[in-house]
Amino acid sequence: MMTGAQIVIETLIEQGTEVIFGYPGGQVLNLYDELYRNSHRIRHILTAHEQGAAHAGDGYARATGKVGVVMATSGPGATNLVTGIANAYLDSVPMVFITGNVPCSLIGRDSFQEVDITGITMPIVKHNFIVKDVTKLADTIRRAFSIAQTGRPGPVLIDIPKDIQTAECEFRPGPVMGRTAVNRFTDEQIEEAVTMLRSAEKPYIYCGGGIVSGDAEEELMALANRLDCPVGTSIMGLSGIPASDRHKLGMVGMHGIYTATVAKSRADLVIAVGVRFSDRATGNKNEYLKHARIIHIDADAAEIDKNIPSTLGIVGNVRDVIKAILARLEEASHPAWWEEIEEIRRYEEENVAKQDRGFTPYRIIEAVNARTSPDTPVATDVGQHQMWTAQRYRFESPRTFITSGGLGTMGFGLGAAIGASVGVGGRAVLFTGDGSFGMNLNELATAVSQKLPLVILILNNGVLGMVRQWQTMFYHRHYSETTLDRKTDFVKLAEAFGATGFRADSEESLQSALDRAFSLDGPVVIDCLIDCDERVLPMIPPGGTVNDLVIR
C-alpha cells in the first residue's frame, strides 16, 4: 500500500521526471515530505515565487523537449501559476502542473487557501483534473503526461486535495507516456501538395513552433533544399532552422526581417508548417497572402483555416507530413525567384535603418552571440529587447530560443532561463529589459541558490521601450507611464542577491564584463545602458500590410 503522496512521486519518477520546480505550502506538505524522502531520486528546485516556478518549468520543457513539472500549494500558490500556465498554453509547451487543495470535505466552503483552480484554469490548459479517488491518482498522472505530449503539446493541471494525498491504495507501475503523433492526412493530400509544389514558381516555406516541438528541423531543411525555397519563420519557429542555412531569411511579422517579410508577400505558394497565423505574424488578415496559394500543415486540425483560409490543409505530425512529401517530391530550382529575393535584400541593405551608431542593442546581442556556443539556450523577456534578439541573434540549434511568443509575458525570462539552464545542465543567456526584469527579478535568488551559470543582459533604457515606441509612432509622443523614474542600481541589486553585477555603457566595458561573466560559474547581471529612443525596425503597424512597412 502507498499513500497518495507516495503515488504522486512514484508516478512522476516512473514518467521520467528528473526535476520539479515548485514551492511548498500547507496543502502539499505530504507531497513535499515524499520529495524529502526521495531527494536522491528526484530533484526539486525551490523558486522565489510560484510564477517563477511555472516559467522555469516552461523554460526547462522548451530547452529539453521533456515535460516540465511544476508543483504548488492551494489557493495563492495555485493562482500564482496562472500566468505561467497561460504562457505554456499559448506556446504549446508540454507541462504538468500539480497543485494541492484543501481536503474534499472542505471543498466548496471557502476554506483557508481554497480556490477552484480547475475552474480558473479551464480555458488555458489542454485538460485539467481534480482527483477525488486515490485509486485513480496514478492513472490520472499518466494521462496528464500523455495529454501534455500528444499531438499539439500543452499544459495539464492536476489538483489533488490533501486527503487524497494521505489516503492509501495499491500502486501498480504503468507504461511511460511518450510523445504521440496524431496523423490524419491521406495519400491524396500529400499528392495534391506535391502537385502544388511542382507548379510553384515562387515557393516560400513559413515555419513556426511546430517545427521545433515536432523535432522536424532536419526534414524542414531537406524540404527547403529539395525545393530550392526560401524559409521565413514565426518567432516561435526561429530556432527551427539554423541561421547559417542559406535558405533562411529570418523572422517574419510585425518586426520581421525586411527581406523575409517582403519575399513572403511576393510568393505564389506558401507552405505554412506548424504555424497558427497569429495577428502579430499576419497583420491585416484580409490582405494577407491574398494572391498566394497556401498549404497549411499542422498537428492541430483546429488551426487549419482558423485565422487564414488555406488552399490545402494537412493535419498531422509535421515531421511525418514533410517526410511523406519528400518521398515524392523531385528536386527543383528557382533561380529567378532567388534573384528577386537578392534584389529585395539589396534594397534592405541600402534602405532599412541600421542600428550602427554607438552602444546599440544589436551590438550587445552580437557581442554575446560571439561568445556563446550554438547550443546555448537564449531566453528573453518581452518587449523591444525580445524583438532585437529575434532579429539579430543567430540561432543555430533547435530549442535554443526560449521566448514568450503567444502570451507575451513580461517577467517570463528569468524563470525560463533558470529552467533552461537546469535542463541543459549548463550556461544560459537571458536578454531582458529593465521593465521586464523588474517584474520577476526575485528569481535571482533561485539562480544564486542553484549556482546557475546565467549571463543576464539587461538592456536598460529607463523606459518601457516597446510601449514607448508605439506612443512615439501612434500616440503623439504622449509617454504615459512608460518612463521608469526608478533609481534601481542593478549592479548592487545583483550583489545583494549574491550574484555578480557589472555595468556596461560602451563596447569596451561590455567586452570586459562579458570576459568575466563567461568565466564565472554563477549568475551574472550586466546592466547595459542603452538609449531610450532606439526603435525596433522594421515595423508593420498593427493591422497593416507589407505596404505599410516602416523601415526608417
Binding site: M122, P123, A301
Partner: protein
C-alpha cells in the same frame, strides 16, 4: 446568420458542461440552446447544441470541441437528415368562456393538457422548433402566465448513429 445543430457524446462526469459551454464563450460563439442528458451507456452523456453563426463558426467550434478530452464524438446534425424535438410546458390563463377554444387548439396541435385549474391550463407541447413557435404564437392571445422550455434534441434518421462517426 444560420442555425446549426451540433450533436455530441461526452463523458458523463463533473465539469464537462462547463468545458463545453466555456469553449463557446471564450471563442465568441453563440449557443442558442444546449441540452444534456445521460445516454443508454451511463458513462456517456449526449449533448445537443443549437448555435447560430456562419459555416466558419460551425467548423471552428466543431474542431475546437473535438480537442476537449471529455468529448467522444462531435458532429453537425444536418437538417433534413435528422428528427428533432423540443418540449415546452406552459401555463395559459383560461376562463370558462375561452377554455374550450384553448383545448381545441391544444388538440389540433396534438399537444396535451396536463393540469387544470379554474383560472389556468398547463399544457405540454412537443415538436420541432417551428411547430413550438407557431403554437406559442397562438397561445399568446390567451395570456401565457409561465413557460418552461427545453432546447432541441436530435437523432439521425434511419440506422445512422452518432457513435459510429
Amino acid at each position: 446568420m444560420k442555425k446549426y445543430i451540433i450533436g455530441m457524446l461526452v463523458m458523463n462526469q463533473f465539469g464537462v458542461l462547463n468545458r463545453v459551454s466555456g469553449m463557446f464563450a471564450r471563442r465568441g460563439f453563440n449557443i442558442d440552446s444546449l441540452e444534456v442528458g445521460v445516454t443508454e451507456d451511463p458513462e456517456r452523456s449526449r449533448m445537443t447544441i443549437t448555435m447560430s453563426g456562419e459555416d466558419y463558426d460551425r467548423d471552428q467550434i466543431i474542431k475546437q470541441l473535438e480537442k476537449l478530452q471529455d468529448v467522444c464524438v462531435v458532429r453537425e446534425m444536418k437538417p433534413g437528415t435528422i428528427v428533432s424535438r423540443e418540449l415546452i410546458l406552459l401555463k395559459v390563463a383560461a376562463t370558462s368562456s375561452n377554455r374550450q377554444e384553448i383545448i381545441d387548439a391544444v388538440n389540433i396541435f396534438r399537444n396535451k393538457i396536463i393540469d387544470f385549474s379554474p383560472d389556468s391550463l398547463c399544457i405540454e407541447a412537443t415538436g420541432e422548433t417551428s411547430k413550438i413557435e407557431a403554437f406559442l404564437e397562438l397561445m399568446r392571445q390567451y395570456g401565457i402566465l409561465e413557460l418552461s422550455r427545453t432546447g432541441t434534441v436530435s437523432l439521425d434518421r434511419g440506422t445512422k448513429l452518432l457513435v459510429n462517426e
